[in-house]
């Protein structure tokens, strides 16, 4: 039976998963039953067009811990997750995929690890059961790059099975495809992050909603995350960092171009254009400062302070 104040909110975004969704809810319940942690299961239906919602509705009678949130249309995994997090009443949020590739039986282990004093415990699908060339390899490379750029070294940022303390999680709002970067973003404000190995199953039903075209978008997102995690408190610094090399290049080009008679226009002209770009980025750095000064993001509320 649900207590008025569940301690753990399990958020599961689902999209067109009518085959699996019932057994998913049952396995979450089986995993949480008798653990001594009151929980709620929040299934977020991300505008499914198949019978997912119809399968879920009657479940509530037999599963009193189940809550259903329906998105008005298909918004994608990140916003569905955000909706689930917004609805969460627990002090701890666990997210997992709706396709049963994550095993709900791993949840208690994540929670135990979190109780050791971590803010985020991320799952690591060490033995992935996906197509090696199309899924596993690109994801390894992406994780390396994300780790290098954000300073948060996780083996598997793409794993949806993660446990969070709600408080740091509430400080960020997710948009676009940002869910894979939550650890990177909240670690910038001092959250403690770790990972444990979790089991991974091959897809049984439904179809993977990812494709290779995702790589290009993930790369663009990476640039954004690098900017946001590293420099959002100092946007000026980030753009000036991109500006100064152009001035340097302009100087070098000018120096090389002196006394070159054959194509005398090429090097000086390029130098001028590099100079332009330098100015362009300096101007942008000022606009960036303006954006931060006038916006609703306040870095001072993000920082977690602890007395030594």
């Amino acid at each position: 039976m649900t207590t008025p104040q569940p301690k753990v909110s399990i958020v599961i975004p689902v999209y067109d998963e009518e085959e699996d969704v019932v057994s998913l809810v049952e396995r979450v319940d089986a995993a949480m039953e008798g653990q001594g942690r009151p929980w709620e299961t929040i299934v977020v239906d991300d505008g499914s067009r198949d019978g997912t919602l119809k399968k879920l509705l009657p479940l509530r009678a037999s599963h009193p811990t189940l809550r259903l949130v329906r998105m008005r249309r298909n918004y994608g995994q990140t916003l569905a997750m955000q909706a689930g997090i917004d609805a969460a009443r627990g002090r701890v949020v666990v997210t997992l995929d709706g396709d049963l590739q994550n095993d709900p039986a791993d949840i208690p282990r994540l929670l135990a690890k979190l109780e050791e004093g971590w803010d985020v415990v991320s799952g690591w699908r060490r033995r992935r059961k996906d197509n090696a060339l199309l899924r596993t390899l690109p994801s390894r490379i992406a994780n390396r790059i994300i780790g290098a750029l954000s300073g948060v070294h996780l083996h598997d940022t793409g794993c949806s099975l993660k446990a969070y303390r709600l408080e740091p999680l509430r400080r960020v709002r997710l948009y676009a495809d940002m869910h894979r970067f939550i650890p990177a973003i909240i670690s910038a404000s001092g959250a403690r992050i770790t990972e444990i190995e979790v089991s991974h199953h091959p897809r049984r039903a439904g179809r993977s909603k990812y494709g290779l075209s995702r790589i290009y978008r993930v790369l663009l997102d990476l640039v954004v995350i690098q900017m946001i995690t590293g420099f959002v408190a100092r946007p000026g610094a980030w753009f000036s960092l991109m500006g100064w090399p152009w001035f340097l290049l302009a100087t070098v080009l000018l120096w090389c171009g002196r006394g070159d008679a054959s194509d005398s226009i090429v090097l000086p002209a390029s130098a001028f254009l590099c100079f332009f770009l330098g100015i362009h980025f300096l101007v942008l750095s000022l606009v960036g400062e303006l954006a931060l000064a006038s916006g609703t993001y306040h870095p001072e509320t993000m920082v977690e302070e602890e007395e030594l």
Binding site: L68, L79, Q82, D221, V224, M227, F239, I265, A269, Y297
Partner: protein, 327 residues
């Protein structure tokens, strides 16, 4: 029964205490006599048994019309009127009207007759069937063949850019729940794309065929400037419906394409200079190549700035519509 997770964005008069229907009429641009409009539609709404209020929002430049509406207001208790500053346009006028609307349903009308008043009930019954926004589709059209052709080309372009297939986006007759009216932020010329913005925000939008009024002026002459505006509108709506939360996807891709073109040109010129030793002094192509490179970098960096804007300004925004299923 459903419970909403979020409050409406625009504060206003609490809905539900007012009449059934609030009719909002923005009188800013092309218009006929607003009083005649009231006399056409008010009896019709009364006939189908709905109580209504009329809200006229007038551009302050239209003094003569304002005087007539003021006279109407003194006669009829369910008419109210507001005056907004000159040149704010229809989008803002609608927003002002929505803010003061008290009805559970909001109906918008163009300040000239587009459809037969006797057809309004069709929109209202579409709302009763569960739609959040019902827009009128004038059918069959009585306009000239040419204007129908350009309208269908325009709507195909809208569909290609946003993935939403509509047929008569510019018809001003729309019925919506007060929730839709209060959550949309319209400015500039966005009122034209109201249905697309509503779809973006997760509302259920339906198109309802209604008979076009024989009174609607048959001849509309478009200047070339109108077409340019329409094209820019299309670009805006493309951007607003697809990329508001991911500017780098848009600017980054555009910048990448431009930059790659510039890179290709520069590569070609380097080859002919260093391999065939052709002088570049007489090649304007060099200028183009280098400028394209620069433009590519600039466009991409604007995308980054856009991301920064979204992150720093979007922290308290609600980006989705969802409801918890309680019962």
């Amino acid at each position: 029964m459903t419970a909403f997770l979020e409050p409406p964005r625009l504060a206003g008069v609490p809905a539900g205490e007012g009449p059934d229907i609030s009719v909002v009429v923005p009188v800013t641009g092309i218009h006929d006599d607003p009083v005649a409009l009231y006399e056409l539609f008010a009896p019709e709404l009364a006939r189908i048994g709905r109580s209504c209020e009329f809200l006229f929002v007038m551009d302050s430049e239209l003094r003569e019309e304002a005087a007539r509406v003021a006279e109407l207001k003194s006669r009829c208790p369910n008419v109210s009127a507001w005056k907004i500053g000159r040149g704010f346009g229809e989008g803002i006028a609608l927003t002002v009207g929505f803010r003061h609307a008290r009805g559970r349903t909001v109906l918008t009308l163009n300040p000239y007759v587009q459809v037969e008043p006797s057809e309004v009930w069709r929109l209202l019954s579409a709302l009763d069937d569960g739609a959040d926004l019902a827009i009128a589709r004038r059918s069959p059209r009585v306009d000239s063949g040419f204007s129908r052709l350009q309208s269908s080309v325009f709507h195909l372009a809208v569909c290609a850019m946003t993935g939403v297939r509509l047929h008569d986006i510019s018809c001003g007759l729309r019925a919506m729940t007060s929730e839709v009216a209060r959550s949309l932020r319209l400015y500039g010329d966005q009122h034209r794309f109201l249905p697309l913005l509503a779809v973006r925000d997760g509302f259920r939008v339906v198109e309802v065929p209604v008979r076009q009024s024989s009174r609607e002026r048959r001849w509309r002459v478009f200047t070339p400037a109108t077409y340019v505006t329409r094209l820019l509108d299309l670009l805006t709506v493309f951007f607003l419906t697809r990329f508001t939360k991911r500017p780098l996807r848009f600017f980054g891709s555009v910048g990448l394409a431009i930059g790659m073109a510039g890179f290709g040109i520069c590569l070609y010129l380097s080859v002919i200079k260093f391999v065939w030793e052709v002088s570049l002094m007489q090649r304007p192509l060099l200028l183009l190549g280098v400028l394209l490179l620069v433009l590519g970098i600039q466009t991409g960096s604007i995308g980054l700035l856009g991301e920064m804007l979204i992150f720093t300004h979007g922290q308290q925004s609600q980006d989705y519509r969802a409801e918890e299923i309680v019962e």
